[in-house]
Symmetry: C2
Subunit: 299 residues, 2 copies
């Protein structure tokens, strides 16, 4: 366990300025694996995300969508720790550790179209920090307010550095009407210290409604003024890769069209979790794999 001063403090008592990122965005100059072109790497590095269209063909999308549907209908999963239901209902909204529930998803996390991108950007072998299936239903899908995943993983899981990335495989079309992912380009270059001490067992609430680890309106305005705001519009079968520190969120979904995706977080093997900050108890494994295991190498 490190006792050095934390370069990225958060859950602070008084407002602080944005903190410039110290880590690279693309590690080892993108030489560890071959997946993205120089232009794609440059774009990821600059914006903090990359939308790749038509990565999976319609037959593959159908296969994964059917698998997701099968999993979400599995009422045996309701009440289990990694199963998150909509507030006030038994409808499954998120299912964590989905690769352990499904051989198909286990295969997907090792698919070179995803894995090689992760290894190339992170400059090392990787392992799964978190996986989940997200289902945002039509008509009633709830919003997710702005956040950096890294802020939470750093504070609550003890992830030391910005050397992880998320990958969202779209299983339904994302358009201007169904609560698509919104990202703030360039926001990954700043750590946003958030106000407020974290209560114990925070994660039991935070998956349904965020109250801690929330960037201030001033910081968000500053970042959007710099980089604008991108609402992803992409067909099913597209993949969004984004840096662990890119600010993102989504509006609610009143359209009739569900928005579902498979979401996986690759972490560098050189970025294993340490103790959580501020004496917090570690969160359950389904939120952040606490030991490096099942190491994946580019193929």
């Amino acid at each position: 366990m490190t006792v050095a001063t934390d370069y990225y403090p958060s859950r602070v008592a008084t407002p602080m300025a944005l903190i410039p990122r110290v880590e690279p965005v693309v590690y080892a100059r993108g030489t560890y694996a071959k997946a993205l072109s120089a232009e794609q790497l440059r774009s990821y590095e600059e914006n903090g995300f990359l939308v790749m269209h038509d990565v999976f063909d319609p037959a593959e999308v159908q296969t994964y969508a059917d698998e997701l549907h099968r999993l979400l209908q599995n009422q045996e999963l309701v009440g289990q720790p990694g199963t998150i239901t909509e507030p006030g209902s038994d409808a499954i909204r998120s299912l964590f550790k989905v690769h352990e529930h499904s051989a198909l998803v286990q295969q997907l996390v090792q698919d070179p179209r995803l894995l090689n991108v992760a290894c190339q950007i992170l400059g090392s072998d990787v392992y799964m920090h978190q996986t989940r299936a997200n289902f945002k239903p039509g008509f009633t899908g709830k919003a997710f307010y702005w956040h950096s995943d890294f802020e939470t993983w750093h504070v609550e899981d003890g992830m030391p550095a910005m050397r992880a990335l998320s990958c969202s495989v779209l299983l339904t079309d994302n358009n201007a009407s169904n609560g698509s992912l919104m990202l703030v380009p360039g926001s990954h270059r700043y750590f946003v210290p958030c106000l407020g001490e974290t209560p114990e067992q925070h994660h039991k609430q935070s998956l349904k409604k965020q109250e801690y680890g929330v960037p201030s309106q001033d910081h968000l305005t500053q970042l959007v003024d710099q980089g604008g705001l991108e609402t992803v519009q992409a067909k099913a079968g597209s993949v969004i890769f984004f840096d662990c520190n890119t600010i993102h969120g989504s509006a609610n979904n009143i359209s009739p069209w569900a928005r579902s995706n498979l979401f996986m977080v690759y972490n560098s093997v050189e970025n294993a979790l340490q103790a959580p900050k501020y004496g917090l108890e570690p969160r359950p494994d389904f939120l952040g794999q606490r030991t490096v295991q099942h190491v994946l190498s580019p193929s």
Copy 2:
């Protein structure tokens, strides 16, 4: 007061099918005034709405935005019947009868760029059924679920026929990220009977959160399957005209960009209000002008 059978029943106890509209969409074949081209009229008739870009120039937009800002800052208006605040705060979300609070807005409702369009579509002189200023703040702006205005006006205000239209003057840009107006093209051709009896004094809640007069998910899916869904993306200074029966709604606004507009409803002088349906008490005047007054003619 009419006692004939109501062709458009709603707030019913058991689900009903969609009811085809009987009235025209464009009255008097669009000859009563000259404002829209034949193509614009055709598009309005087919879709139930028309987005006109750059109707007001930037200087005019600034004038109205300043006026809106002035009105919303007026704390004397808080607590008055036509002033709607955000749930749990004193921030003004909507201000009704805005043309009576502001000489500028009084002038705007008579602007030929709006008035002549209204008269041309409705085929007669008109009067203001309702006006309001809407302010959807950045970060915290709430969603409005799908509804037909006519359903409410018919049941709760006794508006006899679909012979009114709304006009929204955009004072801020509407984009894919800030909870823009979404409309269901072609939905104006069907009356959607809604489930559930209406409690007395319903309007005191309905302006903050809709529970009655809400179309079913089945009906909405049916209408979107037919006509799709349009999310308005237009600059400040644009105007959206839409039929009183076009189904519309909007997602919440987590972007930093406020979304505000001036909203006015023109009703035909031949469509004066009658008694509300089902023995309901009439709602206050600010929600629906109960007598035809200040008749406006095309210029």
